[in-house]
């Protein structure tokens, strides 16, 4: 089982993810993200301690961003090497309502 922790953060409103996020755990993040996406506004995902993500996590992220279109945005805060690599390879900085914040 992947060691993943999903924590709700109040200030700034969002989630803190720790560990490795893959297909096995993506539903948990989906469940935690859904109410935030429903509310709209800015959602901050603190991914500083997220060592690994795969494309199923990116799929989830893009679905959330589509759900937020015109109503909100997501900030990816302090991506580490692993997350940054995926951001670069996929060109995620091309997405309007996604901010990569170092």
């Amino acid at each position: 089982m992947v060691a993943l922790t999903v924590e709700a953060v109040e200030q700034p409103r969002g989630l803190r993810l720790t560990g490795e996020l893959d297909l096995a755990r993506v539903n948990e993040v989906d469940a935690a993200l859904k109410p935030l996406v429903a509310e709209g506004g800015e959602i901050t995902m603190d991914v500083e301690e997220l060592r690994f993500i795969d494309s199923s996590a990116i799929q989830l992220l893009i679905r959330a961003l589509q759900g937020l279109e015109g109503r909100g945005r997501i900030v990816l805060r302090r991506p580490g090497t692993g997350v940054k690599r995926l951001i670069d390879v996929m060109g995620l900085d091309r997405i309007e309502n996604l901010e990569i914040r170092e």
Binding site: M1, V2, A3, D22, S55, I58, Q59, R63, T81, R85
Partner: protein, 126 residues
């Protein structure tokens, strides 16, 4: 060659397995992580799409490259994704291609099922 259950819960174990092999082969961190992600994607596909109960991983290091093979006993499902119908996705194979030097997908046949994804990664500067 090592076999894992074709379940999402295997993916973390597989990444640990590949990281261990890469360490023995003294691959640089960056090369290792690219390979780990590519293999994780190939295995996630076997989990989601193959219907196979297990998947096998073979690691073949060479002087300047490593070849890693992910095999399952299912049938490759050819399909063209329609973004408006299928939602976002179809990232796995393009990602593998971007992270490695070569991706070869051998589809089995109805008589002899089994998909083999062969990833080749250069381990030295070209």
């Amino acid at each position: 060659m090592r076999s894992f259950p074709a379940e999402a819960e295997s993916l973390a174990d597989i990444r640990e397995y590949v990281r261990g092999l890469a360490q023995i082969a003294r691959l640089p961190e960056r090369t290792t992580e690219d390979l780990v992600l590519a293999v994780s994607e190939a295995c996630a596909n076997a989990v989601v799409h193959s219907g196979s109960s297990s998947m096998q991983i073979a690691w073949r290091p060479g002087p300047d490259r490593v070849e890693i093979e992910v095999r399952d006993q299912g049938l490759f499902r050819n399909r063209v994704r329609l973004p408006t119908v299928d939602g976002p996705g179809g990232f796995g194979i393009p990602l593998m291609a971007a992270l490695t030097e070569e991706v070869v997908i051998e589809e089995g046949t109805r008589r002899r099922p089994g998909t083999t994804v062969r990833l080749t990664k250069r381990t030295e500067r070209p």
